[in-house]
Subunit: 472 residues, 2 copies
């Protein structure tokens, strides 16, 4: 019996080692049980026990029709980070200097772990080129004129897709924008004034902080849980106090925390928006990038009084260079249409039509299936590398979608310093300090995994881990 | 001798009538002298004298290798409007209601004389489609990624073209934008604050008023001459008083007045900007659309201290739906780059590259030559129709470029009322009241002539003239 134990344990620990050292890569198929038996000269029973052992460890999983595949998973991840406890004071300090550091050095970097950008190798370029060609034909003027009403095809498809999560829109409800940054900017321009205060999650995407800073808005950062998002009671106290003019939430797989608000929280936010008459802007750029089986619902689906504005874009899910985003502005539709007209007139006709066509002929869904699998694969690889290479006490988020990870190093690790070290190796990372207006998160790091996985990424993460360890 | 006088006078007045009634159309070639002689049985001498008579009247002109062509011109135009004398008080009233009228009814209109929009029939659509195709090939990622630095090709071409009027830029000086409305919005966002005052010409393009209103800016409208633009002394008094934070000028062929500031005025504005340290934003969207032989210089060419920001777009000269504009921000470059990043991130990659390619291979210059000829032809036709159909005492601007005319009816004609009448005939015109924040210009009208000329336009102008006469 002892011998048998040794046999299957030896086999499973050998395979475990191969997975941890990336000899067997995430997504790889394991040899069949039959071939294991013949190669190793073990019984079928032994092979099965070894596989079960690895399965229990969360290192492999059985896939229908594929046998077992490597799926390095949760039991091996670093511990999850705790809820953030940001300083809940108004913040409007400039953080431009730090931000500029990352932006300015970006071209120098060879391995870019800092930005939530979709790798061109994950984009169906030829099919998009074909859609652009089709757009020049489907538009009677080939798209040379102003797109006064926005692409009807695109608006129809956006409205249609929304039904999946309970959104009920007419195409005419959709205001097209040049990405979701435009949609955020227009909403803040329409509904806030210099000196007003808005509430956001914390840590929060620096683009939101920069925009608020540019408009002279005060920002209150809310305690945020890496699984369920902003702390609801804190948010309600703030809304009730009427100290804020607007609440901006990325409800699904936000950058950087990656939390996905549960439905009951989303419902409550929609109810609070109505109760306290404070508009909620829901930025849904990552909602389509779920790792599970189901598209999460949005706050907007619980909005009965039009107090929730829902925006999104195709920049993280299909193509960023086409500048295609949207906004459903609820009861603020007229104001928002005006601000768009005043500030930018119209969007690019051809590329908006091209995305409309791409969706209409069903290519988006097909593409998303592949993309989600790639991102999930990246995610597991990142977790594997972080577990192996980062300091022992490191914590990390465990998002269920998106393309961002928030890493908490032991306090000794200063991530601005780590950034400066990493960029010398042409690796770009994103220091935690850039995700807040307060002096906090100095030992934190945001990593994005929208790239195509490869050994270069493995090496870069190894390097970052090594540099962090040297700081301790 | 008397007989001869009668003969040539009869002949010339017959032809004059044919031109005025549009039987002979502007741009048409006249029959050759030889064929006139044989058809009419007159001597060559008589035919020559008749043609000279018409030439003196400014109705025809000799074109090299083409003989004589119809060129209905200045001596037949209505009198030029006088300098505007706007109420020089701060204005920040809403004018949304009137504006919405024009915008909302726009789809109803069949003949659109209201907006400075380039007709798709004047756009080289096939060549632009080819440029889009070329862009997807010349960009290594086919343009699916963010255009972080903007199209290098485009920036190079914009910098190159600027040398014609004395602009000295590196490609890296050019900030690309999605049209010039974006450039205006970014500049006002960067350099002004809610409650600040800016100075503009008067009447002024309502897009500028709407944008200022949206940002909570006060606007002072300057007396403006239809030939030379804003009154320089009035502008200097204002700048000296430090009551304004910024001055926004469309120095060449502005909408609606069409004035082209002379070089000495441009130089003085640049000097005043430096002397009083007040930034001047020069919107140059119409600069390429000159009717004469030479591209006018810009204020920017006299700017030695970087206090002048120069912006423009291809929307009025080539293609509006591609959303391609730019900004050279002088000493404010860094601030403006930040505002662009914060508010919209990047521009559409493919269409910006496509315009860059279109310019690089020399097609823009060729296209502009044809476009300028078409617009000049439109201009003459508009002047002809206004002379023939509009009330006797009507005055009109005599711009030397662009695509806009400012019409001053006798005071009895209310152009909001005229608008309401015209739209019933599915004709869209632009009431003067929308070009100011004050209660003025109620008897004025803006007409744009960026369309392809045709009998429908002639009929529409006739209808507008008839409706105006009925109001008197």
């Amino acid at each position: 019996m002892k011998n048998v134990v040794n046999l299957y344990a030896t086999l499973s620990s050998e395979i475990e080692q191969q997975i941890k050292t990336n000899v067997l890569k995430i997504g790889d198929r394991l040899p069949s049980l039959r071939s294991i038996c013949s190669e190793r000269g073990v019984s079928m029973n032994t092979a099965i026990r070894a596989f079960h052992e690895l399965e229990k460890l969360g290192l492999i999983e059985a896939k229908p029709q594929s046998g077992y595949v490597v799926s390095y998973s949760h039991s091996h991840f670093k511990n999850i980070v705790a809820s953030s406890q940001p300083k809940m004071v108004k913040g409007a300090n400039s953080m431009d200097e730090i931000m500029n550091l990352v932006v300015e050095n970006y071209p120098m970097a060879k391995t870019r772990l800092s930005s939530a950008i979709l790798d061109a190798r994950l984009v169906p370029i030829n099919k998009l080129n074909a859609a652009v060609g089709a757009a020049t034909k489907s538009l009677s003027d080939s798209g040379v004129n102003y797109s006064v009403y926005g692409s009807e095809k695109l608006k129809t498809q956006i409205a249609k897709r929304a039904t999946v999560w309970g959104g009920k829109f007419q195409p005419s409800d959709i205001i097209t924008t040049s990405g979701s940054t435009d949609a955020l900017a227009f909403t803040l321009l329409a509904l806030t004034r210099r000196g007003d205060t808005i509430a956001v999650e914390s840590p929060v995407y620096y683009g939101i902080l920069r925009l608020a800073y540019s408009l002279g808005l005060q920002v209150i950062e809310l305690p945020t849980d890496p699984k369920v998002g902003v702390q609801m009671d804190a948010l309600e106290r703030l809304m009730k106090s009427k100290k804020i003019k607007l609440c901006l939430l990325v409800s699904n797989f936000s950058n950087p925390m990656g939390a996905c608000m549960p439905e009951e929280h989303k419902k409550r936010v929609a109810q609070m928006a109505a109760k306290y008459q404070i508009p909620v802007l829901e930025d849904d750029v990552y909602g389509e990038l779920f790792f599970g089986n189901k598209r999460p619902r949005n706050i907007k689906s619980f909005d009965e009084e039009g107090m929730v504005l829902w925006c999104g874009s195709f920049s993280k899910t299909l193509v960023s260079g086409y500048r295609v985003g949207w906004l459903e502005a609820g009861r603020f539709k007229k104001e928002l249409e005006k601000v768009k007209l005043n500030h930018t007139l119209y969007c690019t006709t051809i590329t908006h039509e091209a995305v409309g066509i791409f969706l209409e002929i069903g290519r988006y869904e097909h593409h998303l299936k592949k993309l989600r699998a790639s991102l999930y694969n990246n995610y597991l690889n990142f977790q594997r590398c972080i577990s192996l290479y980062f300091p022992e006490e490191t914590k990390v988020t465990h998002p269920t979608g998106g393309m961002n990870l928030w890493v908490e190093f032991p306090k000794k690790v200063n991530t601005i310093e780590l950034y400066n070290q990493a960029i010398l190796h042409r690796i770009s990372i994103s220091p935690g300090r850039t995700y807040t207006l307060q002096h906090q998160y100095n030992h934190c790091l945001k990593l994005s995994f929208g790239m195509k996985w490869g050994d270069d990424i493995d090496s870069a993460l190894k390097r970052v881990g090594k540099l962090a360890k040297e700081m301790m």
